[in-house]
Amino acid sequence: MTTRTFPALGFDPADGDADAVKTLMLQLATASETINATLPRLEEAAKITDDSEWGGSAAEEFSDHGDDLPQGLGKGGEAITAVTTALSAWFGKLTANQARADVLEAAAKKLKAKLSSFDECNDETAALSTQLGRVIDDANRLKARHLREANATAEAIRKGKDGDPFKPENDTWYVQGFDGLAKGADGVSLATGVAAAGLAATGVGVVPAAALEVVSTSAGGVGSLAALGQQLSGSRNAPGWTAVALGLGTSVVPGGGTVAAGVRSAGRVALKRGSKTALRTARKDVEAAARGGALPGVIDNVNKIRRNGLDGKVSRDLTAAGREVAQRKGIYDDLPRDLADRKAELQRLGLEAKQDQAYADLVDKGSQVAEKAGVELSEEQKAELKLLQQGINPTPKQIDKAIEDFGKEALK
């Protein structure tokens, strides 16, 4: 037997001897194999006496006692198979839980080693202690789960093949119920995420590109919840807060119904009311863009790209875009001879083209959002939008590529 020790955690979250289970499984498999080999022979022997091919008192004695043997042996074989299956499932759980326990022990050991390198308490030790607490909490949960699974296996073995807890479909149904809840929560998370992402789209909060910088470091920039559990166990209520009744009894039916339809309808009305203003604003901005005025959104993106050390890429992109514009307009040969001036002029042309392209995309996006919200634009409004897009004369979607590349860089 292998001795497993957990000095950092202080306890074994997944005790059990995997080798012993494996040995027992092998023994049961051998027994099952022997039964499988013996059973047909025994059945054949019993059949011989029944067919009277073997007569006499010895045959009668054998027949009296031997008829029940194949049936008993068959049942025994079934029981052994059931136990072997239960043990096989348990072996998988045991080894998985023990592997997880090893990971937690290693994490606790590492954290304790880090903690011991400090001479006094500070913010860093507090953070490390919180992490250690979380690891120990995880280990305790593993221990509880391990015990539940062990008990379920023991129950299954006791009840044999007819025992309900052992029926795979039962276990699957039970787990499926909770897994279904978890998957449902993921769906609700997506819906709420869409609603919250709208905040960033309106300029409130942080734009997605900035969020990418955070996600690239995964959970590193976000504090743990672990400490809050203890903090709130004593005092739950914040002073000055108002009690709000949620009224779940009058809740809406998931999946839509009259309320959802009402919302869509309200959206249409709201946007129809605002669409004229939006179009007026859009026209103004397009005119400004056509006159060479900067669009804050585009400039922001370019600044972000620069801030992230992609100056070279931006410069190349802008120059390439400017060259394309110059060639299209037939002014390439008129560009300044001096290389620096020439590059500056090309980049000015490139930036202008990108601004136009970005605005064209913005107009396009605007109509998509309108469609999504169920807004029916009039023919005149559609024509006006189309005209705005054509008037801008978009270049290839290079700004998209630049921003996408920036996103990829941030994710690295």
Binding site: A185, A191, T192, A243, A370, A373
Partner: protein, 203 residues
């Protein structure tokens, strides 16, 4: 009647009056943005409210703490498994960690008067970016009620002041109670003497 405590910077939207909810959402975001005019916000507001209602939300609120980025709070009532018992919280917690989505980074169990609630923290990673899902930081909680499980979700596109949101959300969850029912006493947890938890490593 399920009741929670909310601070005054949580603005509940009247989902039963959708046009009003859209209008209020747009107005609030307009105030946050600080630029006059909300015409361009109404489409976004309509989409946000519509999305929440389509997901079966019974609660939707805009959370605008002074020291943190704005966030959206939703509440959805989901069916409770028939054999919900004392072990169910642990199983649900495991399920959240196993299949709740790749952004579930941490889970926690909080005591409420209605019973223990499972809280999960979601932090977006490369998976969300690849799947082009919204990159939002989230907290979710399953609170047991007589009508089913109330799933609260708080989402923000920024981690600015996220610690504030964490405390706010956990306080809201912990304050959940049935106003018409006498609060069930939460049994004291017996300390595990052999657990390392009770011999916390200290400097």
């Amino acid at each position: 009647m399920i009741t929670v405590d909310l601070p005054d910077y949580v603005h509940r939207l009247p989902l039963q009056f959708p046009d009003l909810a859209v209008q209020e959402y747009a107005t609030l975001v307009g105030q946050l943005r600080g630029v006059g005019g909300i015409a361009d916000l109404e489409a976004v507001a309509a989409e946000a409210v519509d999305t929440a209602v389509r997901a079966g939300a019974v609660l939707m609120a805009l959370v605008t703490p002074p020291a943190a980025a704005p966030a959206v709070l939703t509440g959805v009532l989901v069916e409770q498994p028939a054999d919900w018992d004392g072990d169910s919280v642990a199983t649900l917690r495991d399920s959240m960690e196993d299949v709740g989505g790749p952004d579930v980074r941490e889970t926690l169990v909080l005591d409420t008067d209605l019973g223990p609630a499972v809280v999960a923290q979601r932090v977006p990673g490369a998976e969300q970016a690849r799947a082009r899902r919204p990159l939002t930081f989230q907290l979710q909680a399953f609170i047991p009620t007589d009508d089913g499980l109330l799933l609260l979700t708080l989402a923000s596109p920024s981690n600015d002041g996220w610690d504030h949101h964490q405390l706010l959300f956990c306080q809201v969850v912990a304050s959940a109670r049935d106003a018409e029912r006498r609060p069930a006493r939460v049994p004291d947890r017996e300390p595990d003497d052999d657990s390392y938890e009770n011999h916390t490593y200290r400097l």
